[in-house]
């Protein structure tokens, strides 16, 4: 069973999430602030951490940084109510492998946790929209020659379907591709999102001083 740690400063949210996913995954720890989270994660070495973006003591970004300094293998899935691009992009660029909103239903959340635990990326419509926005404008940038700074047409297509509300499977059917290929494209986009220096990403990151 996938071992999960819940990090959120609201007890109510934690118990709600645990009630929804508790049957399908093993919740091995919970934490309410940055220091506690780092401790619990280092102690329990979970497969996946469900991480709130806004946390007392520095935010989810700090947790990812501190944990990855010691345990680079721990995978993070951001779970937040924030729609702000700097929050979403910020936590993903810090190392989270996906971003879902707290309104997600239990089954979808369990699916997202499994996918993150398998090493794939989880892009919801909102994150896909932000990424398309950030990578819009094609080669207008001077630095855009870099492969990291552009999406391939295929990646763009996949992201657009996700932004339209398609699941990975539906997107695969639509594009007549295998599920696995969709995963590969999304993971590739995640890598670009984390490593690219495109101006829009830098701007969002600067909004939270993440550069």
């Amino acid at each position: 069973m996938t071992r999960v740690v819940l990090v959120d400063d609201h007890l109510l949210v934690r118990s709600g999430v645990r009630a929804e996913i508790g049957d399908a995954v093993e919740v091995v720890g919970e934490a309410g602030d940055v220091d506690e989270a780092v401790h619990v994660i280092i102690d329990t070495k979970p497969d996946v951490v469900l991480l709130d973006v806004h946390l007392p003591g520095g935010g989810g970004v700090e947790v990812i940084r501190d944990v990855h300094a010691q345990l680079p293998g721990v995978r993070f899935l951001a779970l937040s109510v924030s729609d702000a691009a700097e929050d979403v992009i910020g936590v993903v660029r810090a190392g989270a492998r996906g971003y879902v909103t707290k309104t997600i239903d239990g089954a979808a959340l369990i699916d997202a946790i499994r996918r993150v635990s398998d090493g794939d990326a989880v892009f919801g419509p909102r994150l896909a929209g932000f990424v398309l926005d950030a990578f819009a404008g094609g080669t207008a940038d001077a630095v855009a020659d870099d492969e990291l700074d552009q999406l391939t047409p295929r990646e763009r297509e996949v992201l657009r379907l996700i932004a339209r509300g398609y699941t990975y499977r539906e997107a695969a059917q639509e594009l007549v591709l295998s599920d696995r290929t969709i995963e590969t494209h999304v993971s590739s986009v995640l890598r670009k999102l984390q490593l690219s220096n495109r101006r829009e990403l830098a701007r969002w990151a600067a909004g939270r001083r993440l550069l």
């Binding site: 729609d83 926005d133 819009a136 339209r164």
Partner: protein, 421 residues
Amino acid sequence: MSDPAPPTATPPSQRPPLERKRDGRLVAGVARGIADHLGVNVTLVRVIFAVLAANGVGGLAYIALWLLVPGEDGSVPLRRPRDFVRGILGRRPGDEPHRRRKLIMYVAIGAVTGSILNATGVGFGSHSLLPLSVAGVGALLIWWRSPESQRAQWTQDAKRYSTKLAPRGPLLVMLGGVGLVIIGVASFLAANDALRQARDGALAIGAVLVGVALVMGPWLFRMLRDLNVERRARIREQERAEVAAHVHDSVLQTLALLQSQAADPDAVRRLARRQERELRDWLYPVANPNGSSTFAAALRAAAADVEDAHSITVDVIVVGDAPLDDTLTATVAAAREGMVNAAKSSGAPTVSVYAEVAKDGVEVFVRDRGKGFDPDQVPDDRRGIRESIVGRMTRHGGKADIRSGPTGTEVALSLPRQART
């Protein structure tokens, strides 16, 4: 000051009392006592005395302090005139090492300063001795009579000035040099023409002003800083009040409504959703330089209307944006029909809207996961789809594509950019 931390007054007990020291004296331990009391280097105090002694003020002040400042047990007293000579010539245990040599050096400093002043014609002549002494004694009295905490604050301020001048040593020497040159030149001019008579008066006034500045400066500075702190606190308070007002007007009201309508799940969902939307708009305002007349803002507003009217959740994601024009308004209207249609007939709880404004055109997708329908079998009385969506897009040079099946419906609107210009 950019330092937001409240100034922490040093507890009075931490500052050693002003008393003449027994150990490490040169003459009577006055300079050492002052140095300990203020927490400054004793050499600095001695040099100041020596320089001031050039015209007598330093000497007078020293003797006055010798008389007035209580001495530590065993320090050199000044009760009879011969104590003065004994204090200077006598040798006592605990004296500053190389005491005589240093004494001679300070006398030399005073003498050199005095002769320089004389040679340049500056000399704080006998006429200016009085005002200078008065100013000095005044400053001294103010210092002496001030509450301990105030003194601590003054020295703290003074130290802050000096740390700001770091590396202060060379800089201060240079500034002092510049000051001396200016005074010298001015006095030279004054001494050699009709301004001569005004010289002493000017010096006295200058000395008084300097004294006042020294005494009042830190106090004024501190008052300004207090004002600043107060203003900042007031701004914070205003911001807090604004947030509180907003939370009260919106969130608390909605929570009250939710409690009263708990029996009606539809109403609860609608209220919660509307409150969420409003709070989001307030917390994360969408950057929008041209007022609300952009495509993205119009599409979001349409979605909000549909949410309110049909108790359904509409997730809107917009990539890019453009100023609203006729064709874009028509596109928003068509998208709105799509949302209404999904809300009314799909049975799905949420509708996803995705819009992309690109260089070559605008695309909008309205998708639900409801039960779907057959676009060809829509009865004529439901003109919504045919007229409001397909017809509208066609009239404006775009097109609408409706796909529906058992897994839901998707309305795809597209509008080439050329058609808009």
